[in-house]
């Protein structure tokens, strides 16, 4: 496998995704999500934003999109990556050249993932800038690189899952629907299991919740960040989610297991299957 060819496909994938305008729409939404809350809080003069909270408000913009928007972004970028090439008949042209299937696969995977990382970074930069601009200098920013790494790592779960579904289905609309369904089902079941555990105290609900794909994704960045902030800031974290997983290690392991499984299944399927002709 040649790195130069993997990078060629990665650049191609970025170009393709940008040309599809989907990414531009996601960037616009990111700008909105990471700036609007600050101006809304400022404009409404809410009593929630107490002076001790102000230097930590950058956390709000960084964590608010974690549970839904960032995962949905990853999913939207990945679901069409392989499937749209089959639908448009372009996979055939690209793979009829002296390139290995692995180079193509990992190039496309990498290209899409770079876009996801770019959107996470954009969200962080805009959140910190907006918080600083609206509420003054921000503190504890040295924690941010750790949070960023955790968010980017956590995004691998639904990114890889949607990428796998795209390859298995080879139909973009089906891939979007199926990946989004799994994501939302996992979120809803997680909430449901939480309620059941609160009502009954039965551990099985709590343990079952650990293994939902959304649980480690939501938990890891929170578990890493929360201990670094004063207790007064915990309220801000609750806007994002409540960590479900018992520890950072369990969260990280579950994320690794989920994303590696998805990548391996997709790669095995792609390596063994025929390159389909145009399907629509």
């Amino acid at each position: 496998m040649r790195a130069s060819r993997v990078l060629t496909f990665a650049r191609y994938e970025i170009r393709r995704a940008v040309a599809r305008k989907k990414v531009l729409a996601l960037v616009a939404l990111t700008v909105l999500i990471s700036t609007a809350p600050y101006y809304a809080l400022y404009a409404t003069h809410t009593s929630l934003v107490t002076p001790p909270l102000r230097p930590y408000l950058w956390v709000l913009g960084v964590f608010l999109p974690q549970a839904f928007f960032l995962q949905f972004t990853a999913l939207l970028i990945a679901a069409g990556s392989m499937s749209e090439e089959y639908e448009q008949g372009t996979a055939e042209v690209l793979l009829s050249k002296p390139v290995s299937r692995e180079e193509y696969f990992f190039g496309k995977y990498l290209g899409g993932y770079v876009l996801v990382v770019g959107i996470v970074i954009l969200d962080v930069v805009l959140s910190i800038s907006s918080a600083t601009f609206v509420f003054g200098p921000q503190q504890q920013l040295d924690v941010e690189p750790t949070i960023l790494v955790a968010q980017v790592f956590a995004a691998l779960v639904f990114y890889s899952f949607a990428f796998m579904v795209g390859e298995l289905m080879r139909r973009s609309s089906l891939s979007y629907i199926l990946s989004a369904s799994v994501f939302f089902t996992s979120e809803v079941v997680g909430v449901f299991l939480n309620i059941l555990y609160s009502l009954t105290g039965t551990d099985v609900y709590k343990v079952a919740n650990y293994y939902l794909p959304t649980s480690p994704v939501d938990s890891l960045p929170l578990l890493l960040a929360e201990p670094k902030f004063p207790s007064s800031v915990q309220l801000v974290f609750r806007f994002a989610a409540t960590p479900v997983e018992p520890s950072i290690v369990v969260s990280a392991l579950l994320i690794a297991v989920y994303f590696l499984s998805a990548v391996l299944i997709a790669l095995a399927y792609f390596s063994g299957m025929d390159v389909a002709k145009r399907v629509t």
Binding site: R2, S4, R5, T8, Y12, R15, R16, A19, R20, Q88, G89, T90, E92, V93, L94, L95, S96, K97, P98, V99, S100, R101, G272, D274, V275, K277, R278
Partner: protein, 311 residues
């Protein structure tokens, strides 16, 4: 390239067993009706689909297991090319060059020459989405020629191309073969195949019906061959002994006067065109043209398809 008992089983439909080979320097016409297995055979050759059984070799390598080396010197232009509409012709060729591992200078040099050759130099910065079907087809052939291909696999390369483009492509393909290249070209335009190809592979319902030279195919499928003798003033030969003298030539089965001259039916293995032209000239008639009927390949092809056991 070679196929040895290659089969692709799609469940309800099976392509193969396919067995044939193509040697260096050939321009092979790959003929068959829609759905006969041409594209499947080509896609097996390119390592895009896996044969259920049998072996396929391209540049003497397995195109599936040794894909990179097997396709190192192979250019492919697919049927109804679905090229990346968001790229420009220039960007597409640059992408192709990167896939082929070409350097920047080599890419720039080749890119300009190829776009000029296929008549797209003026459109190099247009989005492919804005190009006409014929232009996309030209671009598809250009990307197949990128690098240093020794083999070109062309699936319906003349579809949508204007007559000037067809002439241009013929010249490009002939030059390519003259320089030692090999071409496998599927086409439904039989006159194009006849004028360009040196041999044929005919496939029908997933089975190879014929592999060999065009003349051999015509001889095999048609009980006789037709020679058209065009005479400036056909009334001049009415009542003359010319018809009888041509009829008496070895291999001639029947001579029929036509408004343009004569239609001579001959045994498939004989070629008395030299003697016929001598006799016409000796009779005092003015010979305007003499040659095999242009529709012979069409007739032979239709005969092969109709007469195939799977029909």
């Amino acid at each position: 390239m070679s196929f040895e008992q290659a089969v692709k089983d799609y469940g309800p439909k099976e392509i193969g067993p396919v067995t044939f080979s193509v040697g260096q320097g050939e321009i092979v016409g790959f003929l068959g009706p829609n759905g006969s297995g041409k594209s499947t055979t080509i896609r097996m050759l390119l390592g895009l689909i896996k044969p259920t059984s049998g072996t396929v070799r391209l540049m003497q390598r397995d195109p599936l297991l040794d894909h990179v080396r097997a396709l190192e010197h192979v250019g492919y232009s697919p049927e109804l090319p679905n090229l990346q509409s968001f790229l420009t012709p220039k960007e597409l060729l640059q992408l192709t060059a990167k896939e082929l591992g070409l350097g920047r200078k080599e890419t720039d040099d080749q890119l300009a020459v190829l776009l000029e050759d296929v008549g797209l130099i003026r459109y190099e910065d247009y989005k492919i989405a804005k190009l006409s079907k014929g232009m996309v087809q030209r671009l598809s052939v250009a990307q197949a020629l990128m690098g240093t291909p020794k083999v070109l696999i062309l699936d319906e390369p003349m579809i949508g191309i204007d007559p000037a483009g067809v002439v241009q492509f013929r010249s490009i393909f002939r030059d390519f073969v003259r320089d030692g290249g090999t071409i496998v070209m599927s086409s439904h335009i039989l006159s194009e195949v006849e004028s360009l190809c040196t041999s044929l592979v005919v496939i029908h319902s997933g089975r190879i019906l014929f592999r060999g030279g065009i003349q051999a195919f015509i001889s095999e499928r048609l009980g006789s061959r037709s020679i058209l003798v065009e005479i400036a003033d056909p009334t001049a030969i009415e009542g003359s002994a010319l018809v009888g003298r041509i009829t008496s030539l070895s291999g001639v089965k029947q001579v029929t006067p036509t408004p343009a001259g004569l239609l001579v039916e001959v045994d498939p293995d004989s070629d008395p065109r030299g003697e016929i032209s001598r006799l016409v000239v000796e009779s005092g008639a003015k010979l305007v043209g003499l040659g095999h009927s242009r529709s012979e390949l069409d007739e032979a092809y239709i005969s092969a398809i109709r007469g195939s056991p799977t029909q």
